[in-house]
């Protein structure tokens, strides 16, 4: 960012200091730092993961946007790219990985499967969209999305980061511990979402 656009509050800077001093807001500085170093979790589920890898290779080069540092451990990651079909068997590990990521954290649903089940929605082992469990920030359509589409989605995420305000960010609120904690689903006769246990019990009692 050059000093012209960085000088957001429109203070008049004296001519001789123009290239040395900029006045900006804390939010803008802070978000500029965060959006330029989003570290995704090195986490592939299915077909989309291959396009995610392709997006990092020389032709598409995600590194241009500060996102090339894939971290295999969730403790160092900011972004969970759910790249592929989410199965019921895989869901508990995914939720655990999400819970282990430090705030602030973001989720991108890459492709039709992660967004809503895609072609496999009717499958008995398939979760129809990761948004039934995790809060999703950006959905990327496609089956699989091309690397260009993935990069476009990640730029959308950067725009979202740009607009966040530190004073209102949920992860800095004092009283709330772990604001985005998601209870880990249980593998029963079918997938049990602990948050919906009462619903399930009521519906199961009524089944003919």
């Amino acid at each position: 960012m050059d000093s012209e656009t960085f000088n957001l509050p429109q203070y008049e800077i004296p001519e001789d200091l123009r290239h040395a001093v900029a006045v900006t807001t804390l939010d803008r500085l802070y978000n500029w730092g965060r959006r330029s170093s989003v570290w995704p979790l090195m986490f592939g589920l299915a077909c989309c993961a291959i396009e995610m890898i392709a997006a990092q290779t020389a032709r598409y080069d995600m590194a241009r946007f500060g996102m090339e540092v894939m971290r295999p451990t969730p403790r160092q990651a900011d972004l969970l790219i759910v790249s592929g079909t989410v199965t019921k068997k895989m869901l508990p590990p995914i939720v655990r990985l999400y819970n282990q990521m430090p705030e602030p954290k973001y989720v991108v649903a890459m492709g039709a499967c992660a967004s809503g089940g895609g072609p496999f929605k009717e499958g008995y082992n398939v979760v129809a969209g990761i948004d039934k469990f995790l809060p999703v920030d950006v959905y990327i359509p496609g089956c699989p999305p091309t690397p260009q589409a993935l990069i476009a989605g990640l730029i959308k995420l950067q725009e979202k980061i740009d607009r966040q305000i530190i004073k209102e960010a949920s992860w800095y609120k004092r009283k709330v511990k772990d604001p985005n904690y998601v209870p880990v689903p249980i593998l029963g006769p079918d997938l049990i979402d602990p948050r919906r246990a009462a619903d399930i019990k009521a519906a199961a009692a009524q089944e003919e």
């Binding site: 396009e51 392709a54 029963g188």
Partner: protein, 581 residues
Amino acid sequence: MTTPAPASTATVDLATRFPGVVQLDARPDYTGFIVEKDSLLEVAAAIRDEFGFDLLSSVTGVDYAPDKMEVVYHAYRTSGGPGLAFKVQVPRIDPVEVPSLIHLWPGVDLQEREVWDLLGIKFSGHPDLRRILMWEGFEGHPLRKDWKEGFYEEDVKPFKSRWPQGKFAMAEDLNPFGDNLTFPKNFEPEKWIPEGEALLYGALARYTVENEDGISSDRIVINMGPHHPSTHGVFRAVMTLEGETIKGLKPVLGYLHRNHEKIGERNTFLQNMPYTDRLDYFNSMTNNFGYALAVEKLMKIPVAERADYIRVIVSELSRIQNHFVFIGTLLNDLGAMYTPSLYAYEERELVLDIFEAISGSRMMCNYYRFGGVVRDIPDDVMQKIKDLVYERIPPKTDELDRMLSENEVLLARMRGIRMINAEDAVAYSITGPVLRAAGVPYDVRRADPYGIYDRFDFDVAVRYNGDLMDNYLIRIDEIRQSLRILDQAIRQIPQGPINSQKPAYQVRVPAGEAYGRIESPKGELGFYVLSNGKPNPWRYHVRAPSFVNVTALEKISVGTKIADFVVLLAMFDMVMGECDR
């Protein structure tokens, strides 16, 4: 124009060898033999030892609701030639039980577990019959015809609500639980105690051991995956270690089980074509090939001459890019983080450009149709293919070879590290490059030619040491052989129609069974398709090379160091989409 080969059954007279217990399968358009359940072991031993069918390629089950179930075996000779199908029929009354063939062919291990998991057929004598794709505690066996998933709407597509009425309701609104869920009546979630993984850890054979001096000590249990950067997807291996040596190992699959087979039985025949793309998502072009072959056998239709050549061209291009990516990821696993991958993906992108130009999609090509292909290759794309095959890929292959094959670190990590010997590889039903690197020159393209592969002059790449280095080098050999095939195919390709049939949304498939198999870059990819004359397949089974090859993982890894395990696993070139289906 090539006509499909007649149903490929070897001329073996099993019925006269075992009078009374073996009968010819007399159903119209079925092949093979039906064996009495009680003499299965005896007959199977004869099939292997007397008739020489040493490679048991596929085991699967069929639910002929409401009265019987069937287990179907496909056996082949590694010396080549058509195969032999034999079947066991049992009444459909629980417990459905069939003797296990695990002592004759250890390669049936995971496949029998799959049949148990999805169809509920018990294999007596199987030492470790646990669920494999679903989890312990899951209710029911999903591939049975009377089992219905949460989003069940109708038995077959197109659903009446959509066609011809054209109404659409959210699947969530139709389900009592508001989601893709089914629970038994009066189920109480808070009282549910998960079965956990006691069975899995129990199967890992004693992890407390008595030492010679009488002091007992624990072995370390390590879980690798399902989230791990070197397991190539959501594969999980649980192992016990003593120091750094692996003493026991169990693969845990099913984290990407997307129910291809259940969905496939609801789909029409043509609707399954795009689903095959998503099996082995590096090679949609070869997956389509296997499925098209199986259905063409059922329909008894020829393939247009030009389409036959196009199929060979795209399959071999696909094989080349697959092996490039294999080498890239292998080097990743060996610690050469990402630089070789960048070289590999560069070539892959060029191949994908061609796929995109002819099919419209980079990865999920959906390019084949029954009787041909969907679009022709235009002249300018043909020129691109020529440039790639003659100008670009050969020097790049040499470059990769020069850069890597004599690299000191690579040699130290890979030379002399045992993978598997030929005898075990055949017993464990391993196919593809891993089998050929162990010294068995078995390649479906040569052993039981499909399409027009019998017209091309190429060598089956084979190496004899069976160590990791050979497993790596054979991929480079195969790239070179693929280039030879491509060279001939490009020069011979005729002009003409690209499909022998008229384009149609619904194809008429007569009743019968067919097993179409091809040599995919990972090994033998087979499709077992069973039609009863309706628009949908009655049974649609995928014999995935990644899944069957991984059966031998335990055998291969026990006794090696954990640092080598990552490389051993990489050699299978597994793709979880195909492995878990």
